[in-house]
């Protein structure tokens, strides 16, 4: 059994429970054990606009905690994944910042060396476990539903920092979805942003962004919309009705986490995958 520390971040463990539930339920079926580590804090990404040094410190602090437990980390939130990856890159390349951060970490009795490897849900499934292995575990494959995939900006960009998926033509989620019987199809708006980072100071515009993407998805006749980011999911699922109002459309796109679908296909208890917490019309799915 492979063992990873789970870095939950802020959003998933405080409101995006269908992601956390389905992760914890599904990964053990693929021989992955998740270990909870206490004392984690925010990754710092939401504070980048305020003070980037603080972002780097918060990330380094979380990485140092993982080191203390001698575990590589599964980081299911792409925002957190980017903050932690960027922190590793900056601390490797700049001694001055490294020194400042190390000195402050000492006050919290922590030490950063940079040995922690980071994984996101997608590369854990695709690169570590592998599509062939997933195929072997499939118990109830889906019917070929026309599926739209949304990766989330922070998961795919910027390549220079080292991202788990290709920036301009990401296909890893598609491969996983095909393995469980679905029919993912590329669409022109696939790489568009969900709008969530603007929630802080331009909430209206941020919802318009969400609405525009979902409207395009709905107009192209997709039966299902899959994401892997708690922020994107908050926009596309939890706020779908409101997003529809900004583009004057009644949106009815079923939005689910990749791990929820995987759980169903691998034969996990459907009651434990958090489907009751999805706000988008997923009943449409269950009929199929």
């Amino acid at each position: 059994m492979k063992k990873y520390g789970l870095y939950p971040g802020c959003l998933m463990p405080t409101e995006q429970y269908s992601y956390e539930l389905s992760l914890r339920e599904t990964l053990p079926l693929l021989d992955v054990e998740l270990v909870d580590i206490p004392d984690f804090s925010c990754c710092g990404e939401p504070l980048k606009s305020v003070n980037k040094m603080m972002t780097i410190y918060l990330s380094a602090r979380n990485l140092a905690l993982a080191e203390k437990h001698n575990l590589d980390l599964l980081v299911p939130c792409p925002m957190c994944h980017l903050a932690l990856s960027e922190c590793k890159r900056i601390l490797t390349g700049n001694e001055e910042i490294h020194e400042k951060i190390t000195a402050t970490l000492e006050s919290e009795h922590l030490k950063y060396t940079g040995k922690t490897n980071l994984f996101h849900t997608v590369d854990l499934l695709y690169d570590v476990i592998g599509v062939d292995e997933i195929k072997k575990h499939v118990k109830t494959p889906f019917k070929e539903l026309k599926t739209a995939v949304h990766y989330g900006c922070h998961l795919i960009r910027p390549t220079d920092v080292g991202r788990p998926v290709n920036a301009e033509n990401p296909q890893k989620i598609e491969a996983i979805l095909k393995a469980i019987g679905l029919k993912p199809i590329d669409y022109a708006q696939k790489l568009d942003c969900c709008g969530a980072p603007l929630l802080v100071n331009h909430p209206e515009t941020s919802l318009t962004k969400t609405g525009q993407k979902l409207q395009a998805v709905q107009n192209q006749g997709f039966e299902l919309f899959v994401d892997v980011c708690p922020w994107c999911h908050k926009m596309f699922d939890s706020r779908q009705t409101k997003a529809g109002e900004t583009v004057a459309t009644k949106l009815q796109v079923p939005v689910v986490y990749l791990t929820q679908l995987l759980g169903v296909a691998l034969g996990a208890d459907i009651e434990k995958l958090g489907f009751n917490l999805n706000q988008s019309p997923i009943e449409k799915l269950l009929l199929k």
Binding site: P8, C10, P13, T14, E15, Y17, E20, L21, R24, D36, I37, P38, D39, F40, S41, C42, P46, L47, K48, S49, V50, N51, K52, M53, M54, Y57, L58, R61, I90, G93, N94, E96, I97, K100, T104, L105, S107, E108, C153, H154, R157, P158, T159, D160, A167, L191, D192, C193, G195, P197, L198, V200, N201, H202, T205, S206, K209, L277, N278, Q279
Partner: protein, 175 residues
């Protein structure tokens, strides 16, 4: 206020420009000098259509040294950090990092921070997380708590006094 209004009478601030370029180098991005105004960043910018952000113009103004004007403009706060400009810049200039530098400078200069940033900052300082609501409402209007779902205890800083002291020390630091 629009940048054009602010820059009409402006004079360049070389020192601040140097400071920003130093910062960008530390973060391993290239500096504004290398920008040749191809506007590839603006053509893909997610905030362009809705909020009129034009990253290539921001870079041009930085190149001219009009830092105060940029720091005082509202438009620097419209970036969605989708990172397309960082990914696609043929000169590796990363306009998104320039915007972060300008926003950090605005905060350090005591400018009023728009929106909820202050609330997020306070929340991270006091809880270690951006929020600690732990309850959700389902479509059927049922309120569910984290505990009800059988999930383990939320991971957050246990020694919050030490955590706060460390963060506050860093809050006055610049890159």
């Amino acid at each position: 206020m629009s940048i054009r209004d602010l820059t009409s009478m402006a004079e360049a601030q070389g020192l601040q420009r140097k400071e920003i370029n130093e910062r960008l180098k530390k973060l391993q991005n290239d500096v504004s000098d290398y920008c040749y105004q191809c506007a590839k960043c603006t053509s893909g910018c997610e905030a362009h259509k809705l909020l009129e952000l034009e990253p290539h113009k921001i870079v041009a103004l930085l190149k001219k040294g009009l830092i105060d004007e940029l720091v005082n403009a509202d438009v620097i706060w419209t970036c969605m950090s989708c990172l397309k400009c960082f990914e696609r810049c043929p000169q590796k200039v990363a306009p998104v990092e320039i915007l972060y530098a300008l926003k950090n400078l605005a905060v350090a200069n005591g400018k009023q921070i728009p929106g909820q940033y202050t609330a997020i900052l306070q929340s991270v300082l006091s809880l270690g997380l951006i929020q600690d609501i732990q309850t959700v409402t389902t479509k059927e209007n049922i309120t569910i708590k984290r505990d009800d779902l059988g999930l383990p205890l939320l991971s957050k800083p246990t020694d919050s006094a030490t955590f706060q002291t460390a963060i506050m020390k860093l809050a006055i630091e610049k890159i």
